[in-house]
């Protein structure tokens, strides 16, 4: 059982790792690279806690093999803030109490950022459908949706 050598870019950093063929990208991020901000809630693509982007595309890292990451660019929650400067979504989530336990928060932030990059002015319905694959059991989603809409408005004003 030989391990596969993979060269990839994670949060802007050239990264190499070895993985078993059956290891998911999520396994690699968490267990090989220590990037535990990406969470596993189900392992079957139903909860979105493991959301990352691959070449700019939002995916569940539990539904992708680590070996597939060869040559790709991956962004995780750890790549969202710049130094000590939080992304506006991160700031707003704290300010508007858009998290309770916080386990779904990394995945939701990665997903919401991906939405705002594509659509800077989403409707409430668009936010709700975009985030339908990110389960949150604490908040009832209300404050999450409001925080995303509010951030979008702030970012539009700032640009």
């Amino acid at each position: 059982m030989s391990r596969i050598h993979v060269t990839t870019k994670i949060n802007g950093d050239e990264t190499e790792f070895l993985c078993e063929a059956e290891a998911t990208l999520l396994d690699v991020l968490r267990d090989e690279l220590g990037l535990t901000g990406t969470k596993e809630g189900c392992g079957t693509g139903d909860c979105g806690a493991c959301s990352v982007t691959v070449d700019g595309r939002l995916v569940c890292s539990c539904l992708m093999l680590g070996a597939e990451a060869e040559g790709r660019e991956i962004t995780t929650i750890e790549g969202m803030a710049t130094g000590e400067t939080l992304h506006p979504l991160q700031k707003k989530f704290i300010e508007m109490a858009a998290l309770q336990c916080g386990i779904c928060t990394p995945g939701i932030l990665v997903a919401a950022k991906s939405l705002l990059e594509r659509n800077p002015d989403p409707s409430e319905e668009e936010v709700r459908y975009w985030l339908a694959g990110n389960l949150c059991r604490c908040t009832g989603y209300d404050k999450i949706i409001r925080a995303v809409l509010d951030t979008a408005a702030d970012m539009r004003r700032a640009s």
């Binding site: 998911t24 392992g43 079957t44 979105g48 939002l58 569940c60 093999l65 070996a67 060869e70």
Partner: protein, 287 residues
Amino acid sequence: MRFEAPRSVEEAVTALAGQTGAHVLAGGTDLLVKLRAEMIEPDLIVDIKRIAGMREIAAEEGGWRIGAAVSGAEMGEHAGLVADWPGVVEAAGLIGSTQVQGRATLAGNLCNASPAADSVPAMVAAGAVARIVGPEGTRDLAVIDVPKGPGKTALERGEFIASIFLPARGARSGDAYLRFIPRTEMDIAVVGCGISLSLDEAGRVTAARVALGAVGPKVILVEAAAEAIKRRVLDEAALSDLAEACSKAATPIDDKRGTVAFRRHVAGVLARRAAVIAEARAKGETA
């Protein structure tokens, strides 16, 4: 288990043909779930995404050829494809979450051979054709003939689907796909219905294909439903006949997602609603 990511169809076919227990990986959104659940224990996984053309949508003979590794999200962003086959694109777009959309493919949805696959009734209604490559060369097979039953396909050892072809969209034509799920997202279809139709200048149906999902061991093309609306405008009577034909054609089972009675009834309800959307699209109205 080994992992290979060949650069050509030939390499992929050789790898697949040369190894028992080999599985094709495109979007992986079904394969990885099965892997984790230990439903499959492959000896080899062949990732086809690095083969030229697999991630392309190309115009061909007035229609569209969609590479086997094109994701639902990529389809949704392709203006030409969306304009011609909105029903197929929407059906693909209903598979899983935004995240799953970033990976899931038409070919994968088809090869998974689930009776409830969302994109399959839409493709069948569209008259889509799968291009299959394998040790014996290339062959085309109508999408409806690919699944043989739950989890079973017509693919031979070493074969895989390289692309899906959606034919030229004629004038005054439209398609639509609707499914029923208990929530608004993230569920497997309890019933699905794809409809593609063409109208004459008077608004009468000249051609129609109606397909149902999740009400039999595989997708059902309901000829009687198409016949029920041909040469008619889609008035209440025509829609009722359509719905009745679909309910009658459905051969569902009771399971954790729905009952026989519910599925039969809703098959008709969805057919009627999908037909109205397809008709509006055929007339150039937005829907």
